[in-house]
Symmetry: C2
Subunit: 189 residues, 2 copies
DNA sequence: GTCTATATAGCGATAGAC
DNA sequence: GTCTATCGCTATATAGAC
């Protein structure tokens, strides 16, 4: 492997470590020493890949953004809008144990970043923003009234359930609420 | 006024300042210096009223808990369970501007405290826990199946909407989702 | 009870050798 | 590119005069 490839490997290891630690501990509680240690990179070397700590958070957001894009692209292959919408909620159902333990990665990130009003916040809202916009287009394709309101209701339901599931450490709660939302989708129109 | 009363006054000023700052900035970003300054108390004097920083967070939780108890007691005076339930959601609607700016105080507190697994977390879950338990009893009084599931759906809907409202800085979003949930209540059974 | 001054520790960031 | 050592700052918490 070339040097540049090995460098990219270290960079991606740092982003992966940061993403995992941020989900488990939150942004504020995750230190650069934590990240460097988890990624097996010397602390001082982190600054070769990221100028500031904020840049790492930025990279974590972009990492989530890429995963969302990939997920929505996969869901777009389904035939009906209802199948696509239900496929989205199933993501939280499938990772219910993780959600119960650490919360929804997107929700937690947004809740925390909403508290500091810098440039990172504006970027983070794209995560939930993309989900809402995508869901809105699905509801619109179904010819329903107020597709935006339906999309907000749907994503809010998932995210709120993730909060309760995490707060009570209750994974079945997450699965049950996804089932309820899927029934709601089925009965629409 | 006696000394003990003036002391209680200072203590309550500290709790009030902490509560406000925690809502606006989050637990982690709020320092003791912030709290002391806002409450007009000398930094070193804070430790006369609270042994550790964690004790202040504990007091903030208890402050919210007392407000929840008072709110639910007021709502219990309404005649029908549906009126009581809708009265709860209207709390978020009435404070939509605050929610859009700083998020739901309870949701934000829980999201943040769920990340650290100490004794404070166990106490914080009582906040959302009380809301869910109260809503469950209202749905049960209506004779509906799965009152617990309905309560989770309701509180999750409110909290999820608060997250989206805060993320997008969109107060009307909060109001609109409360209206949708109130219609859902009206159409039940 | 209240205040000032300070001990102590941890974290982001940098310097500089290799 | 990588590492060790360390600076500078901030935050919790304490000491001790008043």
């Amino acid at each position: 492997m070339t040097n540049s490839r090995r460098s990219e490997d270290k960079r991606s290891r740092l982003v992966a470590a940061a993403t995992e630690l941020v989900q488990r501990q939150g942004v504020q509680r995750t230190t650069l020493a934590d990240i460097a240690d988890t990624a097996d990179v010397a602390l001082g070397n982190v600054y070769y890949y990221f100028k500031t700590r904020e840049d790492i958070v930025h990279a974590v957001i972009e990492h989530h953004e890429a995963e969302i894009d990939a997920l929505l692209a996969r869901l777009d292959e389904r035939k009906s809008p209802k199948a696509r919408l239900k496929g989205l909620a199933e993501q939280w159902s499938n990772s219910a144990d993780m959600v119960a333990h650490d919360g929804c990665p997107l929700g937690g990130l947004n809740y925390e970043l909403n508290k500091c009003h810098d440039g990172v916040t504006d970027h983070a809202q794209n995560l939930l923003g993309k989900l809402v916009a995508w869901a809105e287009s699905q509801f619109r394709e179904l010819g329903l009234r107020d597709p935006r309101g339906l999309a907000v209701h749907y994503i809010a339901g998932v995210e709120g359930a993730a909060l309760l599931s995490n707060t009570f450490g209750d994974a079945p709660l997450m699965k049950a609420e996804v089932r309820r939302l899927e029934r709601w989708i089925d009965d629409l129109a």
